[in-house]
């Protein structure tokens, strides 16, 4: 690594294994090994993925005592539950005796979890209640079944926290608090919560699909304003069709912002209407009245400026390193499971205001499917781009990806904004990534 000051108040040129950061010459490049090397992937698991706060789920999934879901985060299988006393837990889904998953259900309500192998029974707070029978219990120290020091308990992840209803885990026992980690991303989550005073509920069903590409490619794609015009030409044609007969004439525009610690977002005008709260003619008169009411409620509560921002602006956010929370046709979380250096599994789920009118819910559901998800008019084209990019890394000798768009010698990537099709938010991501990878 070499570092040298060039001009006072200007950012010094910096090079590492993975970065060429040369603001004076308007250059920012990332080495393609960061996407295409199995060794780098193993290293980043240890240095980044196991040391970061990662979205696990939403509070509404475990609203009541006993509620649980099983879920994979990175490559760890977890049980996320609310126990009978109301405490939220995240356990590794593995029997403390010989290892099988103690819960094979995707979700449900349970007072106990029973291992299918030898019948060890765990209460929903993780403590062992029985080794299968009284006779079997007698074969173990009494302390195993008591709540003292010698107790057997499902291994619990220490660092679990929530912000605006989104639950995060961090596999590093020494991690700092979630709110410190999130920096400006926390306020963006809070902003989404302003859509309603009634709280949110999770909509049943998940879009789960694989992409043959490195997980960071989907992060980049999720808040990349630059690709919209080209990749999504057919979707923009569709938008033109749905806006026919309205006086709406939204233009691609807006800003990207960096939020600290590698997090970032773009904020661009809603192009396709949404239930909070922008009407489109083909939704009809009933919806127009309901959306006007919703809009008035939001603006009355938040004031003209913030209210209009909440109603009219899409905000796609990447919480470093692999959580994507999009606030667009709906609030959509994409939790990304990196399966290997060149393959990811996307788990996309959505929350909506609890008090949403059925007609507006209908609009939300329609609107989600027209754009988002593997059957939408946009996501499949993104998937192709990501897979073709990955192929490019693996089948050519070209070494560097370019992220120089809009870079200036004075650029501060910590907490600033730029035009919507700039790449500053990605530079912030990669600087954070490189910083963590450079630790020994």
């Amino acid at each position: 690594m070499s570092e040298r000051a060039v001009v006072i108040n200007r950012i010094a040129k910096y090079e590492s294994r993975y970065l060429q950061h040369d603001p004076q010459n308007h250059v920012f490049r990332v080495h393609r090994d960061a996407y295409a090397s199995p060794e780098v992937f193993e290293e980043e698991k240890q240095k980044i993925l196991y040391k970061s706060w990662i979205v696990l789920g939403h509070e509404t999934e475990i609203a009541n005592p006993g509620d649980f879901v099983t879920r994979r985060v990175i490559d760890r299988e977890l049980i996320f539950n609310r126990d009978s006393s109301g405490t939220v837990n995240v356990f590794f889904n593995s029997c403390m005796h010989r290892g099988p998953a103690i819960c094979k259900h995707k979700e449900g309500k349970a007072n106990v979890f029973v291992c299918p192998y030898h019948g060890w029974v765990y209460k929903n707070d993780g403590y062992l209640a029985s080794a299968g029978s009284k006779k079997a219990d007698a074969g173990y120290p009494a302390a195993y079944l008591e709540r003292g020091e010698g107790a057997v308990r499902l291994q619990r992840i220490k660092n679990v926290a929530q912000r605006a209803g989104f639950y995060f885990v961090n596999f590093d026992d020494n991690a700092g608090p979630l709110d410190d980690y999130l920096q400006g991303a926390g306020a963006r989550l809070d902003r989404m919560a302003l859509q309603t005073t009634a709280g949110f509920e999770m909509i049943a069903g998940v879009h789960e699909y694989d992409i043959s590409a490195n997980y960071k490619l989907l992060c980049e794609n999720s808040y990349d304003g630059y690709h919209l015009m080209q990749t999504h030409a057919t979707y923009l044609d569709y938008v033109t069709q749905i806006l026919k007969g309205s006086n709406l004439d939204p233009k691609l525009g807006g800003i990207v912002m960096t939020l600290g610690n590698g997090h970032g977002a773009f904020e661009i005008p809603v192009l396709s209407g949404r239930p909070v709260a922008q009407w489109l003619p083909h939704w009809g008169e009933e919806a127009r009245v309901l959306l006007e009411e919703k809009r008035n409620e939001v603006i009355g509560r938040l004031g003209e400026e913030l209210g209009a921002n909440v109603c009219d602006m899409n905000s796609n956010m990447v919480i470093f390193p692999n959580s994507v929370i999009n606030d667009q046709q709906t609030i959509l979380a994409r939790t990304i499971i990196p399966l290997s250096h060149n393959r990811m599994r996307v788990r996309a789920w959505t929350v909506a205001p609890k008090d949403e009118h059925p007609k507006l819910r209908e609009i939300r559901m329609e609107n989600i499917l027209s754009f988002l998800g593997p059957g939408g008019f946009a996501t499949p084209d993104d998937v192709s781009m990501l897979e073709w990019a990955q192929t490019g890394y693996e089948t050519t000798n070209v070494k560097w990806n370019d992220f120089s768009k809009g870079i200036t010698p004075e650029e501060n990537t910590q907490n600033s904004t730029a035009v919507y099709d700039d790449e500053m938010q990605m530079r912030a991501y990669w600087l954070q990534w490189d910083k963590m990878m450079s630790r020994t």
Binding site: I203, A204, V206, H207, E208, A233, T234, M365, S384
Partner: protein, 168 residues
């Protein structure tokens, strides 16, 4: 009409529909659909007995009314529909186990198993998409036309490729 001849008529239309989809003759495929409102959808994955729930209750993979289906066909015909351009998936639709045929006035509903294979030049192997379809057809001017096609796949995850950019 006897049950045998109705079954034969349904089979002939199913085969034609499959051929149009597999040959990417999307305008012809759209021409098999009835006038007026329609429903073309692929239900949620990993949801037991998903056909009990509507697309307003559960996150479907896709759910098109007439407008969106027409737009889908227009979109898929463009060279900028990158997921299927320049090289399209080669699909092969297979329908079997035609059953539960119910005639009510001008409409016919039935269930049929479906196995679609999908081959892509940029993907190794062949992807198999198993499932069933709940069809609703309606007789308009003497001919059976598709009014609803609700597809439910036996998949947990969409993979290789993880997109539904073909006509299923």
């Amino acid at each position: 009409m006897s049950e045998t001849s109705l079954k034969h008529e349904i089979e002939q239309l199913l085969y034609l529909e499959a051929d149009y989809a597999d040959d990417w003759l999307l305008t012809d495929w759209l021409g098999l659909w009835a006038d007026g409102e329609l429903l073309y959808e692929v239900g949620p994955l990993d949801t037991p007995r998903a056909d009990r729930f509507s697309h307003n209750q559960v996150l479907y993979l896709l759910s098109d009314d007439r407008f969106r289906l027409e737009q889908r066909v227009i979109r898929m015909g463009k060279p900028t529909a990158h997921a299927e351009a320049p090289v399209r998936s080669q699909t092969r639709h297979n329908y079997t186990h035609l059953r539960n045929i119910i005639v009510a006035g001008d409409t016919v509903t039935f269930k049929v198993n479906m196995l679609v294979t999908r081959t892509r030049r940029d993907n190794e192997g062949v992807t198999i998409l198993p499932g069933y379809v709940l069809f609703k057809w309606v007789r308009q001017n003497g001919a059976l036309k598709i009014q609803e096609k609700r597809i439910f796949l036996d998949l947990w995850v969409l993979s290789n490729p993880g997109t539904m950019s073909i006509i299923l």
